[in-house]
Symmetry: D2
Subunit: 365 residues, 4 copies
């Protein structure tokens, strides 16, 4: 039997259960989980804020583990055969159909209606398909990435799901060499966005968030300036951004807050003809009021919603993470490790913002 | 002396005045006005809804006229020398500085703070710098386009300022061959957007507007479907668009209404990962409430504000207009011609939506 | 048994053979072939000019047929269930892996090393996987498009493989509304490129090719000008293009000739900072000599190679074809129909340029 | 009188002459030259390899100087008033017309036929319009950039004209976060391209050039790998690039060599569906032979010629240079300083590749 956390229903305590060992199909892989994580999305799932979640589920979408067994020859995305003992991660999104209109005509693979997500849209009755579990079963066709030997699993999980999410948000932002970039939000996605914005050629990166702990972290993770939402009200924050940009506003603003009001604020921070990449509104947290004349039309702005991630984001994020594993203090983002039994505590800590990154270590027993 | 309409102040009647003949500088051109127009912007100017207008002004931004005199050798944008009798139009935007950060670094020339606009941001005290006048003075450096011999001035003015505005909105929309395009609004900009969307490779063009007269016009101007806002409430309109697009929504939506609520409606009409080009919010007509989770983030949408026009839009629009002058019934958009004395009546007719296109004919005296 | 043409080896006569009926798998479809075609690529295959072809093969990559049987419920790309009697076409490219670096990271699906092509890279020993056959077997997962009821199979096959190829070349060319476009080559790809360039917003389309028959056809298929390579040498052709473009050259040039020297000529035809889309060099027909200073660097040109097609190109091409089925005389491109026994004659006719489009009608037998 | 170098005619020795003091017009600026440079283009000018050069000229296109006098109030590009003593550089390109088809319709400002270049296309008879002179006269409208106080003139001139040229080449290359980038050439442009590729998010940068001195420099300037053209023939260099990229080739290749054969080699180094930015073929050094099937069509490659620079490139390059002035050993690129009398020696040193960067110091007497 395998010990795993099960989120049985919205607003119910997560339970640790004994679940059956996975049945290995040809092309499948059994992982022994090293780390998974608790992110803001898990808190939203806990409160039932995302439509279409088939409770009970095993949470944990981005994880890292050690290959225990493979169903015959299984290869990673670079075509290398996986062997027992390899340290790997995998794209949480699976079952993209590549046969629907969205996949084939629009080429908007993150909007494929068939896609499912480990730790979110798989039911616990379907198997060990979430990371808060001693083992994870990778179904045939799951896209696997072997971590480079130089890249420890702690480093990887410290970025966690923030890595591909921020990577995608930064890709959508099309930062140009010399741009000033504002990052709204200093959670894991925002901190990773600071790094990737910096690495994409930003001249200046301005992080906006709270608390002080995370702002200090942002300054270590690529930000040149950090503005506290605790110290400065929205109008003042907008003013500071303008002061830092010769009065024009930032070339690019990346939203990673999850707070609807941030969208109106971000549009005041972006310069005319700039780009606003909106990545943080992953769940429905309410409405925002905008003036379309001033905020959109006259501003000649590009606003780009960013939904989900695809394999390229995770793949490239891992490569960049490995390259710059020493330039940024990645693992300092990890505030605390939690055993499976501590899952409810971890959820509460994330919800309260008491931690930057909460890591689940199922093997800690 | 030259007879010209002067808008003296917001909400005051437009007056016909006798103004001095222009003084021709080297590089300047005096035009005898053939036609100018009354567009929705003029109504907004009349009500003082645009900031920074130096009343009194001579309204009329897009016009067509005959060259009466040139200050030495003056060339059009193709490098041809202009001679008396040539029928020309010109870019209403002038004095782009090409030396500021917006012009040179951002290359966002429509956001240059130095740019001024004939008929809008020039004061009547500065000269005959608006089209509701028997003559127009083109200052040195104004970008002039000679109409091709095959293109009559009626055909040009029937599109009028809708031509470059719609051209720019369509350019920002990056329509791909085979896209379904919704155009919100069936005023001159919307109707021109239907034409340019059709000519850009749209598979289907769906026009949404009122009254019936304009919707019928839209069907002649490139639209395949016309939805009346008088017959169908917003939710029904959204449903019709989804029904016409296999339930997905349109690949591209172009906003040309000036009504804030249209922005929320348009975002419900665009498909996931589609494009929304917002061109109609030229003046501040209030706010709109959006749900950033559903309308932006999860939709993975691109929203693109479109401000102003540059020379390329007018130049290419005139070329396409000339090419397709017989395919579309351009001049049927002209509902009525007005003499200078009838300017107030024209403004009221445009405001009430009693006309599609109101043309000012100063020579009609 | 099923009668089918088999190309046994390079430069050997094509033979008509009796092959076994296909075995229908779940998800597979048996088509009764209505039409297939003989295109320039088939001539190249006949002469062994493409690497990696597993002779013997059944040629015919783009075809149209009637559904005879399906292996259970099979759906087209729009999700509709296929039933016997439906008239369908399909993407000749199959087995894209969507798991390799090219598919997932580069998102360059036409460069996936796993992809295979009906009529080209499937061996006759693998089944009825080419169109010069009374029946075609669509393996599970083949992307199928049902022709709209308004679109006859003759109209579809008149465009044939030229439709998606030209669509892709035009997509790569990023034509802007008002551009002047040169199309080099007046074979089926070139003619379809004229149509799609026209529909993409070209102001002027200039076709260059031979013989007169095809040039006349080009003028019916969207070209405004036709330049004969029989009447004018290369330098003269370049001069004509410059004369038609105020001395600047065309904004966009699309190569659809297969002749290496055309690439040097096309680069002289494109204006500075223009776009050159190279689609016709599908097989190795030799080298070309360029001056990189004049032809690339100083010209500030974008040269874009276009390899293969994906589903979006075929899907959208069919939709546009159906929309504009009456504007252009599509079926006049069909010079002659051939039965299976006449395959060698068809190949010789295509090679000699005696026909615009050679259609194979297996049922004519 | 002002001492200045004059290149009187192709292949004649450069002479030091006494020229008249500049006459300051309103809006003009007189600079006392701190540094100018000798680049590969100057060698080409010396040998008459560029068309349209109005000998005699004062060479030196990119320079840095101290403001001696201004003709009234003159502002830099950020709108700040210049005062005597300010250390500034300026865009060597001047007189872009912003009224021709290339400027206004194509928005390809580097192809404006009116543009002129300090040190290249201005004659010595027109004034002190080149940097190899004790003073430089900035005509009214020249785009001026004040160096930030933290950025010394040595640091600026060590990049020199390589800064905007490489910046533009890298911009055209559209490097994506995680790309592998090959830079062909390790002269000043190539070395700056290594820096800007690194700063744009390249995962790996591979420099190819010679001699060892420059390759070592490349490894300091952002390259991860350096391949010597002295040690490895072209086929071997291509092989090494493939070995470093899982056999695929580089995502992006940037050409900065000036050698025609490098274009064929670069196309073998770029992966399928990659990008090749060609910036080094600034003068006509002969032809290259390509196979358009393999090198363009089947490769599905984007080849982008890069001509000249505009203000945005210099402006942003200076900002990035200042930001990263300490990360890279910029001034180590300067091999030697030359007085005006040593100009011929400097030209010979550059031609022979004996120096990385040759700096002219007119004040050194």
């Amino acid at each position: 039997m395998v010990r795993a956390c099960v989120m049985t229903a919205p607003d119910e305590p997560v339970e640790v259960r004994q679940l059956p060992e996975p049945t290995l199909e040809p092309g499948g892989v059994v992982l022994r989980t090293i780390y998974s994580e608790v992110c803001g999305t898990d808190v939203h799932l806990w409160h039932g804020r995302l439509a279409g979640v088939p409770y009970p589920i095993i949470p944990g979408h981005v994880s890292v583990g050690r290959v225990e067994a493979t169903g015959g020859e299984v290869r990673d995305a670079d075509g290398q055969v996986l062997v027992a003992g390899d340290t790997v991660t995998f794209l949480d999104v699976h079952e993209n159909c590549y046969s629907c209109w969205y996949c084939l005509v629009a080429k908007a693979s993150t909007r494929c209606p068939k896609r499912r997500v480990y730790g979110i849209t798989y039911s616990a009755s379907e198997g060990l398909l979430g990371g808060w579990s001693e083992k994870i079963y990778l179904k045939p066709g799951v896209r696997i990435i072997r971590l480079p030997p130089t890249l420890g699993p702690e480093t990887f999980i410290s970025g966690g799901c923030g890595l591909p999410t921020a990577f995608h948000a930064v890709e959508r932002a099309t930062i140009r060499l010399g741009d000033t970039v504002v990052v709204q939000g200093t959670g894991p996605v925002g901190l990773c966005a600071c790094v990737f914005a910096r690495l994409s050629g930003a001249l200046n990166v301005i992080a906006i968030g709270a608390p002080r702990l995370r702002l200090d972290m942002a300054l270590e993770m690529g930000a040149d300036h950090a503005i506290s939402i605790e110290d400065a009200p929205a109008s003042r924050r907008v003013q500071i951004v303008h002061d830092l940009t010769s009065g024009r506003g930032a070339d690019v603003v990346i939203e990673a807050t999850g707070v609807p009001a941030a969208v109106a604020e971000g549009l005041e921070m972006v310069r005319d003809a700039g780009v606003y990449s909106v990545a943080g509104q992953y769940t429905d947290a309410g409405d925002v009021t905008l003036n379309p004349h001033r905020a959109i039309n006259k501003k000649h702005v590009d606003i780009r919603g960013t939904w989900g991630t695809d394999f390229s984001h995770l793949y490239r994020a891992v490569q960049m993470l490995n390259k710059y594993r020493e330039r940024f203090p990645w693992t300092e983002m990890i505030s605390r490790y939690y055993g499976l039994e501590q899952a409810n505590e971890a959820l509460r800590d994330v919800e309260a913002g008491r931690v930057v990154k909460a890591v689940v270590r199922p093997g800690a027993g």
